[in-house]
Protein backbone atom coordinates (compact mmCIF):
# COMPACT_ATOMS: atom_id res chain seq x y z
CA UNK A 1 0.00 0.00 0.00
CA UNK A 2 1.24 3.47 -0.87
CA UNK A 3 0.34 6.32 1.50
CA UNK A 4 0.90 10.06 1.30
CA UNK A 5 1.33 11.91 4.61
CA UNK A 6 0.15 15.52 4.51
CA UNK A 7 1.74 17.67 7.20
CA UNK A 8 0.12 21.01 7.87
CA UNK A 9 0.48 21.74 11.61
CA UNK A 10 4.05 22.89 12.01
CA UNK A 11 6.30 23.26 15.04
CA UNK A 12 3.50 22.16 17.38
CA UNK A 13 5.45 19.90 19.76
CA UNK A 14 8.97 19.71 18.42
CA UNK A 15 10.63 20.76 21.67
CA UNK A 16 9.28 17.91 23.75
CA UNK A 17 9.52 15.36 20.97
CA UNK A 18 12.77 16.62 19.46
CA UNK A 19 11.30 16.32 15.96
CA UNK A 20 8.05 16.63 14.07
CA UNK A 21 6.12 13.49 15.08
CA UNK A 22 4.72 12.95 11.58
CA UNK A 23 8.14 13.04 9.94
CA UNK A 24 9.33 10.63 12.63
CA UNK A 25 6.28 8.40 12.08
CA UNK A 26 6.87 8.31 8.33
CA UNK A 27 10.50 7.34 8.83
CA UNK A 28 9.52 4.51 11.18
CA UNK A 29 7.00 3.23 8.65
CA UNK A 30 9.61 3.48 5.89
CA UNK A 31 12.13 1.50 7.93
CA UNK A 32 9.47 -1.20 8.26
CA UNK A 33 9.02 -1.34 4.47
CA UNK A 34 6.06 1.03 4.50
CA UNK A 35 5.68 2.83 1.19
CA UNK A 36 5.12 6.40 2.40
CA UNK A 37 5.87 9.91 1.20
CA UNK A 38 5.39 13.38 2.68
CA UNK A 39 3.58 16.47 1.44
CA UNK A 40 4.30 19.76 3.25
CA UNK A 41 1.39 22.16 3.23
CA UNK A 42 0.56 25.50 4.86
CA UNK A 43 2.95 26.54 7.61
CA UNK A 44 4.72 23.19 7.39
CA UNK A 45 6.40 24.26 4.14
CA UNK A 46 8.81 26.12 6.39
CA UNK A 47 10.21 22.71 7.33
CA UNK A 48 11.82 22.76 3.87
CA UNK A 49 14.14 25.62 4.80
CA UNK A 50 17.76 24.59 5.18
CA UNK A 51 19.78 25.43 8.26
CA UNK A 52 16.99 25.93 10.77
CA UNK A 53 16.95 24.82 14.38
CA UNK A 54 17.60 26.40 17.73
CA UNK A 55 20.20 25.59 20.32
CA UNK A 56 17.64 24.11 22.66
CA UNK A 57 15.88 25.64 25.59
CA UNK A 58 16.91 25.89 29.21
CA UNK A 59 14.21 25.60 31.84
CA UNK A 60 15.40 26.09 35.38
CA UNK A 61 18.24 23.65 35.88
CA UNK A 62 17.24 21.50 32.87
CA UNK A 63 18.97 21.98 29.52
CA UNK A 64 18.00 20.59 26.14
CA UNK A 65 20.91 18.69 24.64
CA UNK A 66 19.31 17.45 21.40
CA UNK A 67 16.96 20.10 20.03
CA UNK A 68 14.87 19.33 16.96
CA UNK A 69 16.52 19.84 13.57
CA UNK A 70 13.61 19.43 11.21
CA UNK A 71 15.64 20.19 8.10
CA UNK A 72 18.10 17.44 8.98
CA UNK A 73 15.21 15.05 9.62
CA UNK A 74 13.93 15.82 6.11
CA UNK A 75 17.40 15.30 4.64
CA UNK A 76 17.46 11.94 6.37
CA UNK A 77 13.98 11.09 5.10
CA UNK A 78 15.00 11.95 1.54
CA UNK A 79 18.16 9.87 1.86
CA UNK A 80 16.11 6.91 3.03
CA UNK A 81 14.05 7.06 -0.15
CA UNK A 82 11.00 9.03 0.92
CA UNK A 83 9.72 11.62 -1.51
CA UNK A 84 9.03 15.00 0.04
CA UNK A 85 6.69 17.41 -1.73
CA UNK A 86 5.88 21.00 -0.80
CA UNK A 87 3.14 23.25 -2.13
CA UNK A 88 4.70 26.00 -4.22
CA UNK A 89 2.04 28.61 -3.50
CA UNK A 90 2.50 28.18 0.26
CA UNK A 91 6.26 28.61 -0.14
CA UNK A 92 5.78 31.77 -2.19
CA UNK A 93 3.23 33.22 0.25
CA UNK A 94 5.77 32.94 3.04
CA UNK A 95 8.53 34.57 1.00
CA UNK A 96 10.84 31.58 1.23
CA UNK A 97 13.55 31.94 -1.44
CA UNK A 98 14.39 28.99 -3.68
CA UNK A 99 18.00 29.08 -2.50
CA UNK A 100 16.91 28.30 1.07
CA UNK A 101 15.06 25.12 0.17
CA UNK A 102 16.41 21.67 0.89
CA UNK A 103 17.65 20.01 -2.26
CA UNK A 104 15.48 17.11 -3.32
CA UNK A 105 12.19 18.52 -2.14
CA UNK A 106 9.73 18.63 -5.02
CA UNK A 107 7.62 21.75 -5.33
CA UNK A 108 4.22 21.37 -6.88
CA UNK A 109 1.21 23.57 -7.45
CA UNK A 110 -2.12 23.09 -5.69
CA UNK A 111 -3.72 22.29 -9.02
CA UNK A 112 -1.36 19.33 -9.32
CA UNK A 113 -2.56 17.79 -6.05
CA UNK A 114 -5.36 15.63 -7.55
CA UNK A 115 -2.85 13.97 -9.86
CA UNK A 116 -0.48 13.43 -6.94
CA UNK A 117 -3.25 11.90 -4.82
CA UNK A 118 -4.05 9.52 -7.67
CA UNK A 119 -0.60 7.98 -7.21
CA UNK A 120 -1.46 6.84 -3.67
CA UNK A 121 -3.83 4.25 -2.26
CA UNK A 122 -4.49 6.39 0.81
CA UNK A 123 -3.87 10.00 1.85
CA UNK A 124 -3.46 10.76 5.56
CA UNK A 125 -3.82 14.38 6.65
CA UNK A 126 -2.19 15.23 9.98
Amino acid sequence: MKVLQIIQSAYRCIVEEQDDPVIWFAQVLKSGDGDVDILLKGNAVNYAVNGQGGDGIILGTWQQTCPAKVDQDLHQALNSGLKVYAIAEDITLRGIPETKLISGIQKLSRKELPNLFEEYDQVWSW
Partner: protein, 136 residues
Protein backbone atom coordinates in the same frame (compact mmCIF):
# COMPACT_ATOMS: atom_id res chain seq x y z
CA UNK B 1 11.60 37.46 48.57
CA UNK B 2 9.80 39.22 45.75
CA UNK B 3 6.47 40.86 46.45
CA UNK B 4 5.29 39.97 42.96
CA UNK B 5 3.33 36.77 42.53
CA UNK B 6 2.07 35.43 39.21
CA UNK B 7 -0.44 32.64 38.82
CA UNK B 8 -0.68 30.45 35.74
CA UNK B 9 -3.31 27.94 34.66
CA UNK B 10 -2.17 25.29 32.20
CA UNK B 11 -4.67 22.98 30.58
CA UNK B 12 -2.87 20.96 27.91
CA UNK B 13 -1.05 17.71 28.40
CA UNK B 14 2.57 17.20 27.46
CA UNK B 15 3.95 16.29 24.04
CA UNK B 16 1.19 17.37 21.63
CA UNK B 17 1.49 21.10 21.07
CA UNK B 18 3.62 24.16 21.71
CA UNK B 19 1.46 25.87 24.33
CA UNK B 20 2.91 23.74 27.11
CA UNK B 21 6.48 24.64 26.19
CA UNK B 22 5.51 28.31 25.95
CA UNK B 23 3.96 28.15 29.41
CA UNK B 24 7.13 26.62 30.83
CA UNK B 25 9.21 29.34 29.17
CA UNK B 26 7.05 32.04 30.76
CA UNK B 27 7.22 30.40 34.19
CA UNK B 28 11.00 30.10 33.86
CA UNK B 29 11.25 33.78 32.90
CA UNK B 30 9.15 34.77 35.91
CA UNK B 31 11.39 32.77 38.24
CA UNK B 32 14.44 34.36 36.62
CA UNK B 33 13.08 37.70 37.79
CA UNK B 34 12.62 36.29 41.26
CA UNK B 35 8.83 36.37 41.12
CA UNK B 36 6.74 33.93 43.10
CA UNK B 37 4.86 31.56 40.80
CA UNK B 38 1.74 29.47 41.27
CA UNK B 39 0.69 26.92 38.67
CA UNK B 40 -2.73 25.31 38.60
CA UNK B 41 -2.82 22.31 36.28
CA UNK B 42 -6.27 21.59 34.91
CA UNK B 43 -7.65 18.86 32.62
CA UNK B 44 -4.78 17.34 30.56
CA UNK B 45 -2.30 19.62 32.31
CA UNK B 46 -2.33 17.27 35.31
CA UNK B 47 -0.25 14.81 33.26
CA UNK B 48 2.64 17.26 33.21
CA UNK B 49 3.76 16.21 36.68
CA UNK B 50 3.05 12.48 36.28
CA UNK B 51 5.98 10.69 37.92
CA UNK B 52 5.86 7.64 35.63
CA UNK B 53 6.84 9.49 32.45
CA UNK B 54 9.74 7.64 30.86
CA UNK B 55 12.43 8.79 28.44
CA UNK B 56 13.46 6.61 25.53
CA UNK B 57 16.17 6.09 22.95
CA UNK B 58 15.44 7.05 19.35
CA UNK B 59 16.60 4.85 16.49
CA UNK B 60 15.29 7.29 13.88
CA UNK B 61 17.55 9.96 15.33
CA UNK B 62 20.30 7.39 15.70
CA UNK B 63 20.73 8.27 19.35
CA UNK B 64 20.97 6.08 22.42
CA UNK B 65 18.89 6.51 25.56
CA UNK B 66 21.57 8.72 27.10
CA UNK B 67 22.28 10.72 23.94
CA UNK B 68 18.61 11.38 23.22
CA UNK B 69 18.06 12.87 26.70
CA UNK B 70 14.35 12.93 25.93
CA UNK B 71 12.58 15.92 27.50
CA UNK B 72 9.96 15.07 30.10
CA UNK B 73 7.68 17.68 31.62
CA UNK B 74 8.00 16.15 35.09
CA UNK B 75 11.74 16.92 34.86
CA UNK B 76 10.99 20.47 33.72
CA UNK B 77 8.79 20.98 36.78
CA UNK B 78 11.51 19.58 39.05
CA UNK B 79 14.05 21.90 37.40
CA UNK B 80 11.80 24.89 38.02
CA UNK B 81 11.35 23.83 41.64
CA UNK B 82 15.14 23.80 41.92
CA UNK B 83 15.45 27.23 40.31
CA UNK B 84 12.85 28.66 42.69
CA UNK B 85 14.93 27.43 45.62
CA UNK B 86 18.05 29.07 44.19
CA UNK B 87 16.15 32.31 43.60
CA UNK B 88 14.51 32.09 47.02
CA UNK B 89 11.06 32.55 45.61
CA UNK B 90 7.92 30.49 46.03
CA UNK B 91 6.90 27.98 43.38
CA UNK B 92 3.66 26.12 43.92
CA UNK B 93 2.18 23.50 41.62
CA UNK B 94 -1.33 22.19 42.27
CA UNK B 95 -3.16 19.66 40.14
CA UNK B 96 -6.92 19.50 39.82
CA UNK B 97 -7.80 16.40 41.83
CA UNK B 98 -10.83 15.34 39.77
CA UNK B 99 -8.80 15.68 36.54
CA UNK B 100 -6.11 13.50 38.09
CA UNK B 101 -8.65 10.85 39.01
CA UNK B 102 -10.16 10.84 35.51
CA UNK B 103 -6.77 10.18 33.99
CA UNK B 104 -5.31 7.92 36.65
CA UNK B 105 -2.18 10.03 36.92
CA UNK B 106 -2.16 10.43 40.68
CA UNK B 107 1.48 9.44 41.04
CA UNK B 108 3.02 12.89 40.70
CA UNK B 109 6.52 14.11 41.48
CA UNK B 110 7.43 15.48 44.89
CA UNK B 111 6.29 19.01 45.54
CA UNK B 112 3.12 18.93 43.46
CA UNK B 113 -0.11 18.94 45.40
CA UNK B 114 -3.73 18.04 44.80
CA UNK B 115 -6.45 20.68 44.87
CA UNK B 116 -9.33 22.20 42.99
CA UNK B 117 -10.65 25.36 41.33
CA UNK B 118 -11.07 27.04 44.73
CA UNK B 119 -7.29 26.94 45.19
CA UNK B 120 -6.82 28.62 41.83
CA UNK B 121 -9.34 31.29 42.80
CA UNK B 122 -7.50 32.02 46.05
CA UNK B 123 -4.19 32.25 44.18
CA UNK B 124 -5.72 34.63 41.64
CA UNK B 125 -7.00 36.90 44.43
CA UNK B 126 -3.56 37.01 46.04
CA UNK B 127 -1.59 37.45 42.80
CA UNK B 128 -0.53 40.51 40.85
CA UNK B 129 -1.71 38.83 37.68
CA UNK B 130 -3.14 35.56 36.39
CA UNK B 131 -2.53 34.00 33.01
CA UNK B 132 -4.86 31.28 31.75
CA UNK B 133 -3.44 29.15 28.94
CA UNK B 134 -6.43 27.17 27.79
CA UNK B 135 -6.76 24.38 25.27
CA UNK B 136 -7.47 25.63 21.74
Amino acid sequence: MSEITLTFLVMDGPFEQARTTTAFRLIDAALNKGYNVNVFAYEGGVSLSFAEQKPHANTVHGRSFEEENHPLTKDWIAALQEKAKLKECQFNWTNCGLCIDERGVGNVIYGCSRGGPKDFWQWAIQSNSTLVIGTK
